[in-house]
């Protein structure tokens, strides 16, 4: 059977990506970020500063054994791919180290979990994102605030039951990705509008950009303002496929 070069490269890439995303999970844990990942992807565990531990769990499961889990990034390190799940109250030093890593050639998928922070803490994260990534994060939008389903959640058991029967059929507000592939991923209740002077939006909630991709030095930042990790944990196949595509590029 003859394969064209295009077919071979395409198949090889697919196999590599599949190996990153389809195997049972037993990631390696280390606090030494200088240990190079032999498995293709570094997962930065922010520990208490990870706003959504379920996102970390979802991404670890999606990556399987093809990742190295670290708790900090050394300066001037250049990892191939770094994934940062649900960044919450991240310290300036961590922002700096990650920005430096991108400058030196890393591709970083930064998933923001800042939408659930107190306003003051969110404002500080806004400043850090602007200062270190030149990314603008706007005030989180409560996606379901006008949904009739909210009324059904209020009150006691019986009242809730009566209200639930009158729920309307509000359109599910998916976050729509156009890059690296088309995908519809459930919002995570609050989305952070994001933008930058350079780069481009890769996902929108309605017309509002909520994920962005830009070059920083020799590397690339992919900044996601609506978490994907929880969807991975919940078994969303579309989210899993999107996630694999994001870390493959």
């Amino acid at each position: 059977m003859k394969l064209s070069r295009r077919e071979f490269v395409s198949t090889a890439s697919y196999v590599a990506a599949a190996s990153l995303c389809a195997l049972p999970s037993f990631g390696i844990t280390t606090s030494d970020s200088n240990a190079r990942s032999s498995a293709g992807c570094t997962l930065l565990d922010l520990e208490s500063n990870c706003a959504l531990p379920e996102s970390l769990a979802g991404m670890r499961a999606a990556l399987g054994n093809a990742h190295l889990r670290v708790t900090h990034i050394a300066l001037r390190s250049a990892e191939s791919v770094v994934v940062v799940p649900a960044a919450g109250k991240v310290r300036a030093e961590t922002f700096g180290a990650v920005a430096d890593s991108i400058e030196h050639g890393s591709t970083v998928l930064w998933e923001s979990g800042a939408a659930f922070l107190e306003p003051r803490d969110f404002a500080y994260q806004q400043d850090l994102a602007r200062d270190h990534f030149a990314m603008s994060m706007e005030t989180p939008i409560d996606v379901w605030s006008h949904s009739t389903s909210r009324a059904a959640n209020v009150g006691g058991k019986n009242l809730g039951a009566r209200n639930m029967r009158s729920i309307g059929h509000a359109q599910v507000p998916y976050v729509v990705y156009r890059w690296p592939r088309e995908a519809h991923v459930r919002d995570f209740s609050r989305v952070i509008p994001v933008s930058a002077v350079n780069g481009r939006a890769i996902a929108r909630w309605g017309e509002i950009p909520v994920a962005w991709r830009k070059r920083i030095g020799a590397g690339t930042l992919i900044f996601v303002g609506s978490p994907i990790g929880p969807a991975l944990r919940a078994g969303d196949a579309d989210a899993a496929s999107l996630f694999c595509s994001l870390i493959r590029v």
Binding site: G156, N158, A234
Partner: protein
């Protein structure tokens, strides 16, 4: 088997002691305390005050059958917001603490709320995680967590097999099912739930239900023996699985008049159920 009724049934405006007197006089053996549903038992009630509640219960010749709460309808364990989930965990912890203080060994939890916003698979995972987190605390306190089957209202764990699978994944002898025979509505049969869950049943809530909805107005629930539950089958299933614990009246359809009479009528109905004279 012993019979109990919720303190949230005590008529509005009555003091706790007056309510206890009625519960005892009506023939009940115990009282179910509802954390957050009644003025004398909230998240702000101190340990000393809870101990005092126990004293009043015992002075009235009753015991506390279990601690329940409806607070998770507004503060669900399955919320996407980690701050809300932390509050929800704290509520369960407080239930466990007050169960110990009041001398009972079971609590009720509404684990999980599926909505248009928060989908089933997310709710499922979060509830398994929450129960696994809380199980050691419950085990240490010698208190069992009973997840209640709110079925259609929660839109979660609607079938007995789902619930069985959920409990298998939690995998703790300290987490079981607080089985409500009325909440199943027209999605199944209470006696089958009882048969399937047997030793995992922590408590049983009693109410009747109109399965053919559309005939009644707003509520599907009604007094015992008026609705569509098969009470002889329910009793047979209880006997089959050797359940010998508390039967707790949760009468969501309340008498509009002579509210104290509902206590006497309900107690008498439960006596007939226990005796099998149906």
């Amino acid at each position: 088997m012993k019979k109990s009724i919720g303190d949230n049934m005590i008529p509005k405006g009555w003091q706790f002691e007056r309510g206890l007197e009625l519960v005892k006089k009506a023939g009940f053996d115990g009282i179910e305390l509802w954390l957050g549903d009644v003025p004398w038992f909230t998240m702000d009630t101190t340990d000393a005050q809870v101990t005092e509640l126990r004293r009043k219960v015992e002075n009235a010749g009753l015991v506390v059958s279990n601690v329940s709460t409806g607070l998770h309808w507004e503060t669900p364990l399955s919320s996407r917001d980690p701050n809300v989930r932390a509050k929800a965990i704290r509520i369960v912890e407080r239930e466990i603490e007050t169960a110990q203080l009041t001398g009972c060994d079971a609590i009720l939890v509404v684990a999980g709320l599926v909505t248009q916003e928060v989908p089933y698979n997310e709710v499922y995972q979060r509830c398994v995680d929450a129960m696994k987190q809380l199980a050691p605390t419950a085990a240490k306190a010698k208190v069992k967590i009973g997840c209640e089957n709110c079925c259609s209202e929660q839109r979660f764990l609607i079938t007995p097999r789902e619930f069985w699978t959920f409990l298998n994944e939690v995998d703790s002898p300290s987490v079981g099912i607080h089985l409500d025979v009325g909440n199943i509505h027209d999605t199944g049969f209470a006696e089958q739930w009882i048969e399937m869950h047997g030793p995992r049943i922590t408590r049983i809530h009693l109410k009747d239900v109109m399965k053919k909805r559309g005939r009644c107005c707003d509520t599907v629930y009604t007094s015992l023996f008026i609705g569509d539950n098969n009470w002889p089958a329910i009793r047979a299933a209880i006997k089959k699985v050797n359940y010998d614990g508390w039967l707790i009246a949760e009468m969501e359809a309340r008498y509009k008049y002579a509210q104290d009479q509902q206590f006497f009528d309900t107690a008498a109905d439960i006596d007939r159920l226990i005796a099998g004279t149906l």
